[in-house]
C-alpha cells in the first residue's frame, strides 16, 4: 500500500546570506493511510514549515515529496491547486474563514472550486455543518460565531470535500478546554472513519489523542514513537 505521505531529505531554507534560516535540515517521514500523527517541538523548530510543505502551500528547497503516490515536486501551480482541493483539508490555528461570508458559503467553497453543482454543494455543506453540531448556525457569518464554533466551521470545511489527508496546525491553540475537546472529538471521529490526520500541537494532552508522535528539534526529527492507546 502506498503511504499517504512520503518525505525524503526535505530541507527548507528561508532568505539568503546574512539572514539565511535553515528551517528544515533533512526530514524523512512516511505516514500511512489511517495514521493519526502529532507533530511536537519547541517554537521555531520548523513544525509549521513542514506542515505547509506537506499541504502543498509551500515548496521545499530540496528533497523529494510524494502525496498519495503523486510526485509533488514536479507539479506546477495549477496542478498543485487541484491537489490541495482534492487531497487535503486544512484546519488553522486562526480558523481562516472568509470574512463576511456565511458558514454555509464557507463550507461550500472547496466543493465550488471542485466544480460540484449547486444543489449537491448545499446538501453536502449542510450535512457537514450538521456533523460538527452547527446545523442551527448555517447562515451566521464568522464574526457572529464564537472561536470554538468558527473552528468547527473550519473542520466542516476541511471535511466536506472528503480529502485523504487532514492537516491541522495547532487547531486548538486559540480555544478553551471545552471547545478543545469538541474539536478533538471531531478529529477522533474522522480518524475512526479511517481518515489520515497530521496535527501540530504544543500540548501533551492533545498529542495523546494521536497514535504516533514525532518531535522536531531545529529542523530535524529527534524522536518518533507510537503512543500506547
Amino acid at each position: 500500500m502506498t503511504p499517504v505521505i512520503s518525505l525524503q531529505q526535505i530541507t527548507k531554507v528561508y532568505g539568503a546570506g546574512e539572514t539565511e534560516v535553515q528551517a528544515l535540515r533533512g526530514i524523512d517521514l512516511t505516514v500511512n493511510r489511517g495514521d493519526y500523527l502529532a507533530i511536537m517541538g519547541a517554537s521555531g523548530s520548523g513544525k509549521s514549515t513542514l506542515m505547509n510543505i506537506i499541504g502543498a502551500l509551500d515548496i521545499a528547497s530540496s528533497g523529494h515529496y510524494e502525496l498519495d503516490g503523486i510526485n509533488i515536486d514536479s507539479l506546477d501551480e495549477s496542478a498543485l491547486s487541484i491537489v490541495r482541493n482534492r487531497k487535503i483539508g486544512f484546519i488553522f490555528q486562526s480558523f481562516n474563514l472568509i470574512p463576511r461570508t456565511t458558514a454555509l458559503a464557507n463550507v461550500e467553497l472547496p466543493l465550488l472550486y471542485r466544480g460540484v453543482g449547486r444543489r449537491e454543494r448545499t446538501t453536502r455543506a449542510t450535512a457537514a455543518l450538521g456533523a460538527v453540531g452547527l446545523a442551527d448556525r448555517t447562515h451566521h457569518e464568522p464574526n457572529e460565531l464564537s472561536g470554538g464554533q468558527q473552528q468547527r466551521v473550519a473542520v466542516a470545511r476541511a471535511l466536506v470535500a472528503e480529502p485523504s489527508l487532514l492537516l491541522a496546525d495547532e487547531p486548538t491553540g486559540n480555544l478553551d478546554s471545552r471547545s478543545t475537546s469538541d474539536v478533538l472529538d471531531l478529529m477522533d471521529q474522522m480518524h475512526a472513519q479511517g481518515r489520515t490526520i497530521v496535527m501540530i500541537t504544543h500540548e501533551d494532552s492533545v498529542a495523546a489523542r494521536a497514535d504516533r508522535i514525532i518531535t522536531l528539534i531545529d529542523g530535524l526529527i529527534s524522536s518518533d514513537h507510537r503512543t500506547t492507546r
Binding site: D58, E77, S81, R84, N85, N96, L97, L109, L112, G115
Partner: protein, 403 residues
C-alpha cells in the same frame, strides 16, 4: 468552475464589502457624470450662441452709429449723423453691386399695453427689407409694407414673447395695443427664434421707420443700418463698398477715426465659435481631469481591496482555488462595479442635462457618453485586475501570512 459560478462568487464578494463597493461605484459615477455634463454644457453654450447669431442672418453687415472708443475719435471735429439718405446711398446698384438691401434702424425701449396688461419691449423702426435681412419671418398675419412706411401707418409686427405677455391665448392680429401712449394695430406675429441664453430674440416688435420716428424716438440719428449682401460669398466686397460710400458721405479722411462702425456678421460668428469651442475644450479638460481623479480613486480602492484581501486570497488558494478562479472573482467584481458606476453616471448625466442652467440647454454629445463610459470601465477593469493578478500569483503560504 463555470462562468456562472465565477459570477456568483464575484457578486457575493461585492455584497460582502458594501461600503467599499459603494465608494467605488460612487467614484466612477461622479467621473462619468462630470464628463458628460460638462461637455454637454459647453456644447449647449456653443450651439445657443451660434444659433443666436445665425438667427440674425449670416450675410448681413451692421453699420452702427458712433465712435466706439476708437483712438483719434476725440480729435475729430466732424461727427455726422447716420441718416436715411446714407441707407439709400448704400443701395446704389452701380457703386455697391454686392449690397442687396440696406434698412435703416431706430430702436425705442417702450412699454406697450393691451387691455390693462403692460409689457416693456424694444421696438425697431425700419423698412420692410429688414425682415428678410434679419431673418425675421411672420408666422400669422402679415408684414407691413413700403406704403406703411411712406404713410407712417401705425402698424406693428410683434414677437412671440410680446404676444404671450400681452395677449396670452387671444389672437393678437387686428387688435390694438398702446406703446408709450401711441396706438398701434398688430398686423403680424413673428415666427419664434427661441431664447438663446443671453437674450430673448422673441421679445421684440417691428414697426415702420417713420411711425417710430414720429411717435417714439423723434428724428435723431439712426441707430444703425442693416445691410444685406447678395450672398455670403461677397460679404467682404460688400463691406468695402459700404466703407467707401460712407467714408465719402461722412467726409472721412482718416480711416482709423470713423464716426461709424461696420460689424460683419460672418466674422463675428467665427470669432464667437472659436471662443465657445475653446470653452467646450476647457470644460472638457476639467471633466477629463475629474475622470482621471475618479480613476485614481478607483485604483486606490482596488489596490487597498486586494491588499486587504490578500489573506482571503490565501485562504481560497489553500482550499484549492486555482489562479484563474481567483482572477475571475476579482475581474467580475471590478467589471460589475465599474459597469454599474458607469451606467449610473450616464443615467445621472442624462437626467441632469435635461434641465437648463442659466438659460443654456446642455446638449449631450454621444461621443462623450461613449468615451466616459468606456474609459471608466477600462480603468476599473485594469486597476481591478492588475493587483488581483499580482495577489493571485503569490504562493498560498505567502498570501496567508499577509497581515
Amino acid at each position: 468552475m463555470n462562468i456562472y459560478e465565477t459570477l456568483r462568487i464575484g457578486l457575493r464578494g461585492i455584497g460582502a464589502n458594501r461600503l467599499r463597493s459603494g465608494l467605488t461605484v460612487l467614484g466612477i459615477l461622479i467621473g462619468v457624470a462630470a464628463v458628460i455634463i460638462l461637455v454637454a454644457v459647453g456644447n449647449g453654450t456653443t450651439q445657443s450662441v451660434t444659433s443666436n447669431l445665425e438667427s440674425l442672418g449670416t450675410n448681413t453687415l451692421t453699420v452702427r452709429h458712433g465712435t466706439f472708443g476708437q483712438p483719434g475719435a476725440e480729435t475729430r471735429t466732424q461727427f455726422k449723423d447716420l441718416t436715411v439718405a446714407d441707407a439709400k446711398a448704400l443701395m446704389d446698384a452701380d457703386v455697391a453691386p454686392d449690397v442687396k438691401s440696406a434698412s435703416p434702424v431706430v430702436t425705442s425701449q417702450s412699454t406697450c399695453s393691451y387691455e390693462g396688461t403692460t409689457h416693456a419691449t424694444s421696438i425697431t423702426g425700419t423698412w420692410p427689407s429688414y425682415f428678410e435681412a434679419s431673418n425675421s419671418k411672420v408666422s400669422t398675419g402679415n408684414y407691413f409694407i413700403n406704403d406703411d412706411v411712406i404713410s407712417a401707418r401705425r402698424n406693428i409686427v410683434i414677437g412671440q414673447t410680446v404676444v404671450d405677455e400681452l395677449f396670452g391665448v387671444v389672437d393678437p392680429v387686428g387688435k390694438q395695443i398702446y406703446c408709450d401712449g401711441t396706438p398701434f394695430t398688430v398686423v403680424g406675429v413673428l415666427e419664434s427664434k427661441g431664447s438663446s441664453g443671453f437674450s430673448d430674440a422673441d421679445d421684440t416688435a417691428i414697426a415702420p421707420l417713420t411711425t417710430v420716428q414720429n411717435h417714439l424716438t423723434g428724428y435723431r440719428s439712426l441707430d444703425s443700418v442693416l445691410v444685406q449682401s447678395s450672398s455670403s460669398e461677397v460679404m467682404d466686397s460688400a463691406q468695402s463698398e459700404v466703407y467707401s460710400i460712407l467714408d465719402d458721405r461722412h467726409s472721412i479722411t482718416d480711416t482709423t477715426a470713423r464716426d461709424y462702425q461696420v460689424l460683419n456678421q460672418a466674422t463675428l460668428l467665427s470669432a464667437v465659435e472659436e471662443t465657445t469651442s475653446l470653452l467646450t475644450i476647457l470644460l472638457g479638460s476639467v471633466a477629463a481631469i475629474s475622470l482621471l481623479v475618479g480613476g485614481i480613486g478607483i485604483t486606490n480602492i482596488m489596490l487597498v481591496t486586494v491588499t486587504e484581501r490578500t489573506r482571503e486570497i490565501g485562504i481560497r488558494k489553500a482550499i484549492g482555488a486555482s489562479k484563474g478562479a481567483i482572477l475571475g472573482q476579482f475581474l467580475v467584481e471590478a467589471t460589475v462595479l465599474s459597469v454599474i458606476g458607469g451606467a449610473a453616471g450616464v443615467l445621472l448625466a442624462l437626467i441632469v442635462t435635461r434641465f437648463s442652467v442659466m438659460g443654456i440647454t446642455p446638449i449631450v454629445m454621444p461621443a462623450s457618453v461613449a468615451a466616459a463610459f468606456g474609459v471608466s470601465v477600462a480603468i476599473g477593469l485594469f486597476f481591478g485586475s492588475y493587483p488581483a493578478n499580482r495577489a493571485a500569483s503569490l504562493r498560498p503560504i505567502e498570501a496567508l501570512r499577509h497581515e
